[in-house]
């Protein structure tokens, strides 16, 4: 009990602390563009899968696409972007993720609940009334990461248990949660996640509770209707935040968006749908290859996960192959390789080979899931909920290599999700009148060497400075070699962090002895100065934490920045509150 209390207290204090960080330095807002009209010229326009205009122009005004074509006149107030020979696509749509949401810290387990069979809905993970806008944070780094890949819209859902709340479709740009939301309460988000220590603590419990709530909602909906039509002489129906949230589902006005990664989970969801009859969107599916027809028959909309199992062996093999090759060159006399191959196969080796073969078969099924759906004629979108943003492009290419046509991959990122989410009139293609969500890459998007150069979200431009491939190659080499030596972390830095309530300005002093990094933070709210902990320099990436006292509470901040010469950029994170952009400049000696 004591622990629970103190964690709540801490949270409150923390909130106070962050909002009270004084704005010592006046943050200069990013300079506004001089015009909201843009013209992208001389660009290959892929309006939609199969519709292409070579070397055309796209004009955007006030967040909308106003003209697309070969001979388009460029308005006088347009900022012209010469996207010579680049490729423009409709911005991608993510079918399920939590991009932009701050993950709540796992709550400490309190004392054993008194009657674990009858918890409050909130304790049981039943919070269908939740609105994603409450926890949407435009400053979250995840938005930037996903946008840099070309995603411009996402179906985001709250954190929680079996019924976490309403999903919303957001644009990956905006200054406030409300501004970001394109369609609110677009879905009733559900998971088969059990509660901890209280009912429903198992999957079967979740299924039972789901049925019960759904049927209760249907009955209470009917009764409320009866009551509304004639109130005299019958009992007032009680309000119920859970059941009321289910009414749009019961009325089939709101689809249920259900996360189901494994093949068994997906079928459990289909069972529920079959029993209750709601309209279903199945998302983050990873093992759907055996149930394509079942999904088809259930008329469910489906979003396949962009997360794929990592092919560790292949990576290792490549490395091995390379090193072997080099060895071979160096020392031809050794000839270890052929010897190994000729060695008599032991039972263990045979067994291992058989197991590896099965493993490879299954890797192919995971990677080929999208192609399987495509061949079966099932329309699908993609979701990124459990995918690492760094893997998404590569995973798309793996799916394409496994037989997914590029057009189909593009459709699943654009037109298909737009249609499934009921947004075809606004999103999904490069056409007049649609929201100006665009992604521009220097090579066709699915090309291994393609780099995203611009992303537009509702007409707001995001430019990505990409050194040409030669440079970046050199850069990579340098990362592990000579460049490392060039990074100088030690010294005195001014460090500023943008918080929702202004900019926090402090001083960072770094000392380096051998490989050990120490240092102090001081100034601003950090008074007196405190030492930094867990400091690490990896290439040009500097990470450390510091803990300072505010109003009797200790607040720990995690800092991760990349040093470029005499400046650094990155984030500072405070648990439960989120991460904020951080910048630093070396102080003159």
């Amino acid at each position: 009990m004591k622990k629970l209390f103190s964690s709540v207290l801490l949270k409150k204090l923390l909130t106070v602390a962050v909002f009270c960080w004084p704005a010592v330095l006046f943050a200069q807002d990013e300079l506004a563009p001089v015009s909201r009209t843009y013209a992208i010229t001389n660009v290959n326009i892929i309006q939609a899968p199969g519709r292409k205009i070579d070397m055309g122009t796209v004009v955007m005004k006030d967040g909308l696409i106003v003209s697309v074509g070969k001979n388009v006149s460029i308005p006088a107030d347009a900022i012209v972007i010469k996207a010579d020979s680049m490729y423009v696509y409709a911005g991608f749509i993510d079918g399920l993720s939590r991009v932009g949401l701050t993950k709540p810290k796992d709550e400490e387990r309190g004392p054993r609940p008194k009657d674990p069979g009858n918890p409050k809905p909130e304790e049981a993970g039943i919070t269908p009334q939740n609105d994603v806008r409450v926890s949407l944070n435009p400053a979250e780094k995840s938005i930037e990461e996903l946008r840099a890949l070309g995603f411009t819209a996402a179906h985001v859902v709250p954190y929680g248990g079996m019924m976490p709340g309403n999903g919303s479709i957001i644009l990956l740009s905006g200054k406030s949660a409300d501004q970001m939301v394109l369609v609110n309460k677009s879905s009733f988000y559900s998971e088969l996640s059990p509660a901890r220590g209280v009912y429903p603590a198992t999957v079967m419990g979740v299924m039972a509770k789901y049925r019960e709530l759904y049927r209760q909602a249907s009955l209470s909906r009917a009764y409320e209707n009866a009551y509304a039509s004639n109130r005299a002489g019958i009992q007032r129906p009680a309000t119920d935040r859970v059941l009321e949230s289910l009414y749009p589902v019961v009325d089939k006005r709101q689809p249920v968006l259900f996360k189901a990664e494994r093949v068994v989970d997906a079928q459990r969801v289909l069972t529920l749908q079959n029993d209750l009859g709601f309209s279903l969107m199945l998302a983050e599916l990873k093992e759907g290859w055996d149930i394509v027809n079942k999904i088809k028959a259930a008329n469910a909309k489906v979003f396949l996960s962009l997360d794929l199992p990592e092919d560790k062996d292949k990576k290792d093999d490549k490395k091995k192959d390379e090193s072997k090759k080099e060895e071979g060159k160096k020392d031809e006399a050794k000839k270890e390789e052929p010897k190994k191959e000729e060695a008599p196969k032991t039972a263990t080796a045979e067994e291992k080979a058989a197991l590896e073969k099965r493993k490879a078969e299954f890797m192919a099924r995971y990677v080929g899931q999208a192609a399987t759906f495509q061949k079966a004629g099932v329309k699908f979108g993609f979701s990124t909920l459990s995918a690492k943003s760094g893997n998404i492009q590569a995973n798309l290419r793996r799916m394409i290599e496994a037989g997914l046509p590029e057009d189909a991959a593009l459709a699943s990122l654009t037109t298909a999700p737009a249609e499934m989410l009921g947004l075809s009139d606004r999103l999904g293609s490069v056409d007049n009148g649609k929201i100006a969500n665009l992604v521009i890459s220097d090579k066709p998007y699915f090309n291994e060497k393609a780099k995203v150069r611009y992303v537009f979200v509702e007409g707001t431009m995001y430019k990505f400075d990409v050194k040409d491939s030669k440079d970046s190659k050199d850069g990579k080499k340098n990362d592990s070699g000579s460049k490392d030596a060039g990074v100088k972390a030690e010294g005195e830095w001014s460090i500023s962090t943008e918080t929702p309530n202004g900019v926090e300005q402090s001083k960072l002093v770094i000392k380096k002895e051998g490989n050990t990094i120490t240092g102090t933070m001081s100034g601003g709210s950090i008074n007196p100065a405190v030492g930094i902990d867990n400091a690490k320099l990896d290439g040009n990436a500097l990470t450390f934490t510091f803990t300072f006292n505010y109003g009797g509470s200790n607040i720990t901040v995690e800092v991760a920045v990349k040093i470029e010469g005499d400046s650094f950029k990155g984030t500072s994170s405070v648990a439960e509150y989120g991460s904020f952009p951080t910048e630093g400049k070396r102080l003159p000696k």
């Binding site: 054993r112 008194k114 009657d115 674990p116 069979g117 009858n118 220590g197 209280v198 009912y199 429903p200 603590a201 198992t202 999957v203 079967m204 419990g205 299924m207 039972a208 509770k209 049925r211 019960e212 209760q216 009955l219 009764y223 009866a226 004639n230 002489g233 019958i234 009992q235 129906p237 093949v263 068994v264 079928q267 459990r268 069972t271 093992e287 055996d290 149930i291 027809n293 079942k294 088809k296 028959a297 259930a298 008329n299 199992p309 990592e310 092919d311 560790k312 263990t348 067994e351 291992k352 058989a354 197991l355 590896e356 099965r358 493993k359 490879a360 078969e361 299954f362 890797m363 995971y366």
Partner: protein, 463 residues
């Protein structure tokens, strides 16, 4: 037009469903056929056509497309039925409440469980996938056919099998919910009785209030509110209506007798006791009320309430006229139920037919599926196991297992790796040290998923 599409969709759904239950045709030639209910037939053929036994006799002709198994020198018997199992389940206990009648193991099936294949290799074709014993009234169970190979949990469910539910008496529910657990009733065997009587009484009220509402809601001018829908009470009401068979985890004679009385008071007739280690002490009472018993062959002394047990339990129950089966409650034990049944010949001298009934027709009766399975008779399901050697001999080896006329296990052709899904991320180093800890029996498989609620750690979890 729209209707047409809906119908078309429905048809697709139904046909894809029907397709998934695979039914085969197989002729088993010249075996020693142990029919269980109609004696032993030497040098006899069994023909399974489209999943059903269509003929038992001599010199039967194989229909076109039939697989033929030469069973000369082999013993042919009905597929073994395990009336107490937790295989192919993700979770066993919804241990958060003493009455969890709303949950159902059918929601929880895991068709990928390798334990199912291992059971098939031991001749088990049907098992009763049970909720655990954490609660006085546990969750609903599901009778499954071991149609290993499907990924569809619905295909595993035995079509037409009656609903069943788990109850539990004694140490398990009292330690989960009582003073060593959540600190609520039941803490004693008195409390267990009360919890059950209370649930039955409330269920009765619930049923009556709905009956009343349903009877009046269509009357002109009726404007009342419906009673609150309660899935837990829906299930209890179905028990009271006789639609669900109770399978009750129990050990001590007194608690067994208690539930007999409670069921008598509420007019409940379909009652099977599980484990029922001291069932032999109240065998006359069990027989008098028509209650059945599903026991271990020889497990005892793993907890105090089974300290006064005897391996002669099955024999005493059988001799007293109680329909008795031998179950496993364990992924290992289920693989040699034929051996467990044979132990009743050592402990009590049961005949071959009596011993084999314990794992075939008797568990079928307890699950309410004896019209479909449990013996080799024309018209019954084509669930057959073929042994090399008499199934009651310690040296016997199951050679084939057939379910719905489909050969699911063939020892000669058995592959090493029978997993349905393979984790592509798994590092394979077969001489590494990652392996399953299944060294010894866990006598408390029934308590899976309930441990988190327990303050006390039990020694048998470490064994």
């Amino acid at each position: 037009m729209k209707k047409l599409i809906t119908i078309a969709c429905l048809l697709i759904a139904i046909s894809s469903m029907a397709q998934q239950i695979e039914r085969g045709t197989v002729l088993i030639k010249n075996g020693t056929v142990l029919t269980i209910t109609q004696g032993v037939k030497e040098n006899t053929d069994v023909l399974i056509k489209d999943g059903k036994i269509s003929q038992i006799g001599k010199n039967l002709a194989a229909p076109a497309g039939a697989k033929v198994i030469d069973a000369t020198g082999y013993h042919v018997m009905p597929g073994i039925i395990d009336a107490h199992s937790h295989l192919a389940l993700d979770a066993v206990n919804e241990a958060t409440t003493p009455v969890s009648a709303m949950v159902w193991e059918g929601d929880d099936l895991d068709p990928l469980d390798i334990a199912m294949y291992r059971a098939i290799a031991g001749g088990v074709t049907i098992s009763h996938a049970m909720h655990g014993s954490a609660n006085a009234i546990g969750g609903q169970c599901q009778t499954i056919k071991h149609r290993y190979g499907t990924v569809d949990p619905k295909v595993l469910m035995m079509e037409g099998a009656p609903r069943t539910i788990k109850f539990a008496l004694g140490e398990n529910p009292t330690r989960v919910h009582g003073n060593n657990g959540a600190g609520i009733v039941p803490n004693t065997r008195m409390g267990v009785e009360f919890v059950i009587r209370q649930a039955f009484s409330e269920g009765k009220e619930y049923m009556e209030s709905w009956n009343k509402y349903n009877a009046s809601k269509n009357q002109k001018g009726f404007r009342g509110a419906p009673p609150k829908y309660d899935l837990r009470m829906e299930t209890i009401a179905a028990i009271l209506r006789g639609e669900i068979i109770i399978h009750c985890h129990s050990y001590r004679a007194d608690e067994i007798y208690m539930l007999l009385k409670v069921c008598k008071d509420f007019g409940i007739k379909r009652l099977v006791f599980q484990h029922v280690n001291e069932g032999f002490k109240v065998a006359p009472e069990l027989a008098a009320q028509g209650a059945m018993a599903s026991v271990f062959a020889d497990w005892w002394a793993y907890k105090f309430e089974v300290y006064y047990s005897t391996a002669y339990n099955a024999a005493i129950l059988t001799r007293n006229g109680v329909v008795t089966s031998i179950n496993s409650d364990d992924a290992e034990l289920t693989r040699h139920l034929y051996h467990e049944a044979a132990k009743t010949q050592k402990y009590g001298g049961l005949t071959d037919d009596e011993a084999l009934s314990l794992i075939t027709i008797n568990p079928a009766k307890q699950l309410g599926i004896d019209n479909r399975v449990g013996s080799l008779e024309v018209g019954k399901d084509g669930d057959v196991v073929i042994f090399k050697g008499h199934p009651l001999s310690v040296y016997t080896v199951p050679a084939y297992t057939i379910i719905d006329g489909v050969i699911k296990f063939d020892r000669e052709k058995d592959a090493d790796d029978m997993r349905l899904y393979v984790d592509p991320k798994q590092t394979i180093d077969i001489t590494d040290a990652v392996f399953e800890e299944t060294l010894s029996h866990n006598h408390d498989e029934c308590m899976k998923n309930a441990e988190f609620l327990l303050n006390v750690k039990f020694a048998d979890q470490n064994r």
